[in-house]
């Protein structure tokens, strides 16, 4: 019998790993993340805030910002709503969160709902500028800023991580799993003139 857990299966499997020449943009698949959406229940925001701080030593970010501590990060994606991620935790993350935050918040597992790419390289901003209608200038879109927006008709979530040692900016972009191939294509073709390298998980 085939093992139904033989996955996790890469949503990007089989897609071209390079386009153009060079490495103006390097995209790395982020896999194994536990992703949960937590939404404060009616009038429970303060309680949720306290709980998150106690459990994760994190302040719930206000607005479209992101914060992280260790393996865990929290990104504001709507009024009183956050995406929480945890490295290498998979679906278990949300299950655990439901136990810890389930009182003041609704916790929904979205680990499989999104695929995520980490984008770096000298031309990452030029490439993203072809895709998202958001000002990515370093002063306008700062480290840990979050934007939910649209790229070629696809709803995407974008955030900026800390710069690399050399000062190069790093972004992560996620999209609904069913659109993995379309997003990969859009980034690949936009980056091709600078050289695109893709590293699957």
């Amino acid at each position: 019998m085939v093992d139904p857990t033989c996955g996790p299966l890469c949503a990007f499997a089989g897609l071209p790993a390079i386009a153009g020449s060079g490495d103006g943009v390097v995209a790395k698949e982020r896999d194994g993340l536990g992703i949960a959406r937590i939404t404060a229940r009616d009038r429970q925001l303060a309680a949720l805030e306290r709980l998150v701080q106690r459990r994760f030593h994190l302040l719930l970010p206000k607005g479209a910002r992101r914060t992280g501590c260790g393996e865990v990060s929290l990104a504001g994606v709507g009024p009183e709503s956050w995406l929480m991620t945890c490295e290498n935790a998979g679906n278990a993350f949300a299950i655990g969160l439901r136990d810890s935050l389930g009182g003041p918040a609704t916790v929904v597992d979205l680990s499989d709902a999104y695929v995520m790419l980490r984008l770096a390289g000298a031309k990452v901003r030029e490439t993203l500028a072809k895709l998202v209608p958001v000002d990515l200038h370093e002063r306008s879109f700062q480290v840990d800023d979050v934007a939910q927006t649209v790229a070629e008709h696809m709803a995407v979530t974008l955030w900026r991580l800390g710069d690399l040692a050399g000062g190069e900016a790093v972004f992560e972009i996620s999209v609904g799993r069913s659109l993995a191939r379309s997003l990969h294509g859009a980034i690949r073709e936009s980056a091709a003139e600078f050289g695109f390298v893709f590293e699957p998980a």
Binding site: A64, G78, P79, P133, V150, A155
Partner: protein
């Protein structure tokens, strides 16, 4: 047109879905003349040339419903609030 979403910041209106007049509140369903009031709320429109309070849904952003006041002659946006926070008319 750029709409300043209270949560996401200023975005092009193509990220939003439009829903029309925000002044058309849902009438009390139990009233004796409920049907006439629903007909008014669902179908009749002020359709002003000038400031218009209207609903936009930030579909490609934070999925908030916004109440936007906009001049229909110039498309100038005068005010934006989260619909859930605006005092119901």
């Amino acid at each position: 047109m750029r709409i300043e979403c209270p949560f996401c910041g200023e975005r092009d209106h193509s990220e939003f879905a439009y829903f029309g007049d925000a002044a058309c509140a849902r009438p009390a369903p139990g009233a004796a003349d409920a049907q006439a009031r629903f007909v008014e709320a669902v179908y009749l429109r002020e359709n002003p040339a000038g400031a218009h309070r209207e609903l936009w849904y930030h579909e490609f952003g934070c999925r908030s419903w916004l109440q936007v006041t906009r001049d229909t002659r110039t498309h100038e946006i005068l005010e934006v609030r989260l619909a859930r926070e605006s005092t119901a008319p």
